[in-house]
């Protein structure tokens, strides 16, 4: 078994607002293994970003608070660390890159300074050594003329180049975990592909674990080893990328797969999951997905489904997996897609990745 580097157990995060308590994350549990890429997918508001920011304790408190649960990293529970102890972990052992490279760099500070800031904070290096390290990092993320680029400001870089800089900052101290919160959403498609390639490349070189937050299943197929599907603040299905794409069990995952646009199919209309996610100010009783779920059973409106085990690595929270549930096949469009994914794999003669 590969070493677990991070364990999240029953994490609950709430935001206290005037109207009451918004339960953004309602019991999330997952492990992250050394060197793997775990993708967390879900709609806007599913709690994926909140979960990732909570791992770094970057959520503003108040209004947010970690209600219960633990985040175990190197034998410590991150939810209980002081702000000062957290600062020595942030950027050093766990790093994060954000969605929009156009706004995630300080416009009035040179690129070099912004990278060196991270290095000098955590490593006992002289300014000259830090500068050398920063140049190395820029070269690592594929920026040419690194020495000249060090003296430039963010507005002198294109979007893709800025995201490379952001990645360089995140890598400054060789982190064990890199959290990427939709790192390619704001970039155009060709640049997206370059950045994803870069991240895979760097992961191979440095051997860190990546938590990849996204709503783009295409990116997931390309990047992830394992996938966690989140809905309404919970993980509803988790498994290896193959299991999620060829053998999805949760009706929500079916919906996500069916609504994934692709070039090589003949549907004239793109499927979309009807309705909208529930209001987490007053989460519904039972399964939060039930009102949007065409396969919902009566029990779904009464009792939340537990995680049913499908295989050693594959779990899904739906009553359909209960032995007394009626046998339900995924809808035709999803079955067709599952088949096509399998075909692609067969054609490529291996895993559908990279």
């Amino acid at each position: 078994m590969v070493e677990k580097i991070l364990q999240v157990n029953d994490l609950h995060i709430s935001f206290d607002i005037h109207a009451g308590e918004v339960q953004a994350v309602r019991g999330v549990t997952f492990d992250l293994y050394k060197g793997e890429t775990l993708a967390i997918v879900g709609e806007s508001g599913s709690g994926k970003s909140v979960t990732s920011k909570a791992l770094m304790r970057l959520l503003p408190t108040p209004p947010s608070r970690i209600k219960q649960g633990e985040i175990l990293f190197e034998g410590k529970d991150l939810t209980k660390l002081s702000e000062k102890d957290m600062q020595s972990i942030r950027g050093a052992k766990i790093s994060m890159i954000f969605q929009d490279p156009m706004t995630s760099l300080n416009p009035t500070m040179t690129i070099g300074k912004q990278i060196m800031e991270a290095i000098l904070k955590h490593q006992k290096l002289s300014k000259d050594e830090a500068r050398k390290r920063a140049i190395e990092l820029l070269q690592l993320v594929g920026i040419k003329n690194a020495e000249l680029r060090m003296k430039q400001y963010p507005h002198q870089f294109s979007g893709g180049m800025r995201q490379r800089v952001v990645i360089a900052i995140a890598l400054a101290c060789n982190p064990k975990i890199l959290i990427a919160d939709e790192p390619t959403t704001a970039l155009d498609v060709t640049i997206q592909a370059q950045i994803l390639e870069l991240m895979k490349d760097i992961q191979k070189k440095l051997g860190m674990s990546i938590i990849f937050i996204t709503h783009d299943l295409g990116v997931v197929a390309n990047m992830a080893d394992r996938v966690a599907v989140m809905y309404a603040g919970k993980i509803v299905e988790i498994g290896t990328v193959d299991e999620i794409f060829y053998n999805p069990k949760h009706p929500y995952t079916w919906g996500l797969l069916a609504s994934m646009p692709s070039l090589d199919h003949k549907d004239t209309e793109l499927y979309s999951i009807p309705g909208s996610p529930p209001d987490l100010l007053n989460p519904p009783k039972g399964d939060a997905f039930a009102p949007r779920n065409p396969y919902a059973l009566k029990i779904d409106y009464e009792l939340e489904p537990p995680m049913f085990q499908v295989s050693d690595t594959h779990y899904a929270a739906t009553w359909l997996l209960h032995e007394m549930a009626p046998k339900v096949e995924p809808p035709a469009v999803v079955r067709e897609r599952m088949k096509r994914f399998a075909d692609i794999v067969a054609r490529k003669g291996g895993k559908p990745r990279g």
């Binding site: 770094m56 970057l58 702000e83 000062k84 600062q87 020595s88 972990i89 942030r90 950027g91 050093a92 790093s95 994060m96 954000f98 969605q99 929009d100 706004t103 995630s104 760099l105 300080n106 416009p107 009035t108 500070m109 800031e117 991270a118 904070k121 955590h122 400001y153 507005h155 002198q156 952001v166 900052i169 995140a170 400054a172």
Partner: protein, 309 residues
């Protein structure tokens, strides 16, 4: 940068020319003459004096003459102060005004910045509310009203500081306070709004994700970027301060430029009015220019757009 500066300089000359023209004709529209209070003079004597100063000629001729003198750097001589050159009068009086203005802007900016920063960091806490109340009061109370209050309570009632006159640093405190309240108010308000916006921006999150402490993030990232818009308002603020000094100097009997200016208007002392107006305008344009340059120093994006060559 040189080209940018030169361009700015040309604009400055044009602006000054327009101001000089406008002031000249506005003054001619004013009722009264410099000799209206001189009842002892006979009409012949008055005519002689007017001729002496060239005030008997048609207005367009006077205007051309005035511009000609201006080009030579001659601001004319005062009617009221024994024919002393206007330039000399201005340089004699500039000291106290400059000191007051400088003290008020430095004190006001520092206090305003601190208030704004504290309010933003402690958003929606009592510190924030206090700073907001101070800012609203400061913005809505005119400096001369506050000046009167300060004179009454601090100088007359408590006798901590002198009521008026100009005989040392102690005498500058009350007028400086009265002047700086407006500055404090606007700077605090701007700084608070800007800081709040900057603090919620993505690059602050990036900085925190690097492991930088809250204080480090504020000092290294937030304050500098919040300063950019604040610097822009320093220009108009200087105007406020200048017009403010006119009244405050009168109120506190400060022998400054403003006090002299007000008197020259009362006496229709044309050359002094003109000279002082031009002087103020030049100062103002200079202030705006300095602000523009500062802007480029703080924000690299502007440096590139404005002054690449």
């Amino acid at each position: 940068m040189a080209r940018y500066t030169l361009q700015r300089f040309v604009y400055m000359i044009i602006t000054l020319f327009i101001i000089a023209t406008l002031t000249f004709f506005l003054m001619k529209l004013l009722p009264g003459s410099p000799l209206q209070n001189q009842e002892k003079l006979t009409p012949e004597q008055k005519a002689l004096i007017l001729k002496e100063y060239g005030l008997d000629k048609p207005v367009p001729v006077q205007y051309i003459q005035y511009l000609g003198n201006l080009l030579k750097g001659d601001l004319g001589v005062s009617f009221q102060y024994d024919n002393r050159p206007v330039a000399e009068l201005i340089s004699d009086r500039i000291g106290p005004s400059a000191q007051l203005g400088f003290q008020a802007i430095v004190f006001g900016t520092i206090v305003g910045l601190i208030l704004g920063i504290v309010a933003a960091i402690r958003h929606n806490h009592w510190e924030d509310y206090t700073a907001t109340v101070i800012a609203v009061l400061g913005a809505s109370i005119p400096s001369f009203v506050l000046g009167g209050f300060l004179q009454y309570f601090i100088a007359v009632k408590l006798q901590w500081l002198p009521v008026a006159f100009w005989e040392g640093f102690k005498y500058t405190i009350l007028p400086t306070l009265a002047l700086s309240v407006g500055v404090i108010a606007s700077i605090a308000r701007f700084m608070r709004t800007e800081m709040l916006e900057v603090l919620s921006s993505d690059y602050i999150l990036t900085a925190r994700a690097k492991g930088i402490s809250q204080a480090g993030v504020i000092i290294k990232h937030a304050i500098r970027n919040s300063l950019i818009p604040v610097i822009t308002i320093l220009g108009p603020m200087t105007v406020n301060l200048m017009t403010g000094t006119l009244v405050i100097e009168k109120l506190f009997a400060v022998p400054g430029l403003g006090e002299q200016f007000v008197r020259s208007i009362e006496l229709n002392d044309y050359p002094v009015i003109m000279g002082t107006t031009l002087f103020y305008s030049a100062l103002l344009i200079l202030a705006v220019f300095i602000v523009d340059v500062l802007y480029g120093v703080v924000d690299p994006r502007i440096r590139l757009a404005g002054g690449k060559k």
